[in-house]
């Protein structure tokens, strides 16, 4: 069976960047690359959920972090899995400084645009991992 790509956003609750990563993940998993991409609850790794650990062990993993603390990456790598690609929402924000999210969870149009830009970048990484980009 072909490997899938599991995207794990940090879903940070303190700032909008966590929600942007989460919305971008949903866009890739549900609209842009639904055949190749899934997401899993990051918190399940924190309780050593065997099914979730098995899934990330046997598939590609991309983490999406809202800040430089890289919590999603750290929590995945605590299981012994090396992430295939670690991305940060802030890197997309730096390229589009004119777009300011309206709230932490209610991102408004500017925040959703940032999520769309991030989703495009994630889709490129997915293609590269599953071989479509070659």
């Amino acid at each position: 069976m072909a490997k899938k790509v599991v995207i794990m956003p940090c879903s940070g609750i303190g700032k909008a960047y966590g929600e942007i990563g989460r919305q971008a993940t949903y866009k890739v998993a549900e609209s842009l690359r639904p055949e190749e991409v899934e997401t899993e609850c990051l918190a399940r790794l924190m309780i050593d959920d065997p099914e979730t650990k098995e899934k990330i062990t046997n598939n590609y993993v991309i983490t999406v972090d809202g800040c430089a603390k890289d919590c999603a990456k750290k929590n995945v790598e605590k299981t012994g899995k090396t992430v295939d690609k670690a991305m940060r929402t802030l890197d997309v924000f730096k390229e589009h400084r004119d777009l300011k999210p309206e709230g932490v969870l209610n991102l408004g149009e500017p925040g959703m645009k940032l999520a769309d830009f991030l989703a495009e970048k994630l889709a490129e990484e997915v293609d590269s991992l599953v071989g479509k980009g070659e």
Partner: protein, 145 residues
Amino acid sequence: MAQAMKIPTDIRPTKVGIVPCNGEEICEGSVTRFACRKVLDEIRPGKTVTICLPLFVAGDEKERNFACHYPTITLDGCGKRCAAISTEKLSGKPARSLVVTDILKKHGAKLSGNRKTLTAEDLKLVDLVAEEIAQEVDKITGKED
């Protein structure tokens, strides 16, 4: 001989940490986020803080110190209770442990299942969950409205 220090027993905590699970896979996980932010920003501002679960587990000192010294309420989306289990492991038993599916069951309510965008009906249930959290905050801080 030194006298034993009298510790007042009527002092209540002034702040409560709320730990949502954030579950990405399910709609209930999105509800945990919106309900926690509603309590923090609108219903009980100043009395609550949210604790970022991934940061907490990744080893952030500030988050762990807060959870060691102040009571916490965990809010999980499902029966796996990841936030409650992680909090207990890292900083002790939460003061209250709530689960969205239990709250909805109690009220005979059902979510749309859309994890990406909560519907207007889902947002009404967010209010309901947020009220349950606020009641627990009041019980802990001793200021029941």
